[in-house]
Amino acid sequence: MKRSTTLLLLPGLLIIIILLIYPALRMFIPTFTSGNSLFENYRLFFSSSNNLKVIYRTLMIAVATTLVTLGLGLPTAYWISRLNGNWRKLVSIIVLFPILTNAVVRNFAWIMILGKNGVINNFLMKIHLIDTPLTLLYTNLAIIIGAVYLFLPIMITSLVSSFSQLNSEIEEAAEVLGARPVVVFFKVILPQVSLGIFTGSILVFVGALTAYTTPQLLGGNKNMVLATLLQQQSITLGNWTSASVIAIVLTVIAVVTMFVLNKVSKMLDRRNNLEIKN
């Protein structure tokens, strides 16, 4: 490598190695060396039924969030990709604005909507559908609703860019040949946007998996997830080893999911390209 190249890359490399990778290793290694045996700390972590519950809840919330955002995002993105001119612009602003607005603000809105004296309970009591307020806030459902609200715009954005590249002639060809709309959607459109679906799903799944603000504000103390447990163990309890184990578990789940979904999406993409060429 030329000296000038090294010089240009060096500041960035140094910062990442010294200020990210080194701290990460200093967190990673003691989780193995500080116990009586190599995996002692991990055995302890996984033997607690409470921790397993937290992992299960974290995964369940991430999966539910991904599926709901996909379900709502697919038709929405399809619709947006067919809009033109000023409508398209207005809708893009409405989708982009929440992404760029602070997560505290977006979750706070749902505290007001789901709370005991919140918008939903007030409305239901006013029309005499219920007599006592429902418990909506500080539940798993509240976290899922908050996470869907948080990540839906990201899912829509990933899908829209995929839908926009769609060749509508293929779709029309399928219709001319007599395929029903449902068949066209699942057999013709979906395979072509699989890349967008996977990109969006990776972003949403990993985002929901590692989100801190939403479970903190909407889940309360009872419904812990890995991120809030990590915060509790480290800042509140000062239990460094335990917090490090949680950090590693969270990172491994996130990275493995990203890796697997990436691989699957590349495989699907290659297969689709082959099919289209043939």
């Binding site: 990442i16 619709w79 929440p98 909507i113 991120a227």
Partner: protein, 260 residues
């Protein structure tokens, strides 16, 4: 075909409403005169906005969040621009390996980065809180800078640069007079996105704020733990106005699609 469009436009319309309504409720409640948040509001007042500026944590936090976001975005650009230039202009062995290193921070969950930095920089090295926080936010911004600038550099026609060399400019002058002006849109986009990312960040900031260092999002989070009044709505509206202002700048100079 018709039914499919109609179905997707109905869902799409409902989804858009669901995206806007919660923020509308926040805006409306910020004007309510009752001390407990209620919707619909009874009475109209601007007192809660006044109250925002009576909270030292909010005022201090706003200043600090601005300073950190501007510094973090600038430093990330200063590190990122030369790296991207090298990665896109020179033959480098294991190029993708280097690229992955620079995108690394996006791989590790933010809350884990915050925890790891807190443990090493603050506790072990005794680095000041402000400096550690700045490091965290730079790491946060770097992947955005690398991604947006790489795209910008790819669009840039290298022959323009070569032409400048041929007419006798040296490489450094060419870089500042020819390369930078040609990718200035990507630089602005990267700056705006970095600024917003840093300004809004909670998971990293969480570990590195304290009585001596107030950041706005964590101050709001703390305030919400003890209070539930329209002051939070009012400060939320102020945050939304900042977002709107940045989107307007982006739209004017770049077009909004640059931000996604």
């Amino acid at each position: 075909m018709k039914s499919k469009i109609r179905f997707s436009s109905v869902i799409g319309f409902i989804v858009l409403l669901l995206l806007i309504l919660p923020l509308m409720i926040v805006i409306i409640t910020s004007f309510g005169s009752e001390t407990a948040i209620s919707f619909p509001i009874k009475g109209f007042t601007l007192n809660w906005y006044h109250n925002v500026f009576q909270q030292p944590d909010f005022v201090e936090g706003m200043k600090m969040s601005f300073i950190v976001a501007i510094l973090a975005a600038t430093i990330a650009l200063l590190i990122g621009i030369p790296a991207v230039y090298a990665l896109t202009h020179f033959q480098i062995h294991h190029k993708s390996w280097f690229q992955n290193i620079f995108l690394n921070p996006a791989l590790i969950p933010e809350i884990v980065i915050g925890f790891a930095l807190y443990q090493t920089l603050v506790i072990s090295f005794g680095l000041p809180l402000f400096l550690s926080l700045l490091v965290g936010h730079c790491l946060l911004c770097l992947p955005y800078v690398i991604r947006l600038l790489t795209a910008g550099m790819m669009d840039f026609d290298n022959r323009i640069e070569e032409a400048a060399w041929m007419v006798g400019y040296n490489k450094i002058v060419t870089f500042f007079k020819v390369v930078i002006p040609n990718i200035k849109q990507s630089i602005l986009a990267a700056f705006i996105l970095s600024f917003i990312t840093s300004f809004n960040n909670i998971p990293i900031t969480l570990f590195m704020n304290g009585p001596s260092l107030n950041m706005l999002p964590t101050s709001i989070l703390n305030y919400l733990e003890n209070n539930y009044d329209p002051t939070v709505s009012a400060v939320s509206v102020i945050l939304m106005l900042i977002t709107a202002a940045l989107m307007m700048i982006a739209e004017k100079y770049l077009g909004l699609n640059k931000l996604t």
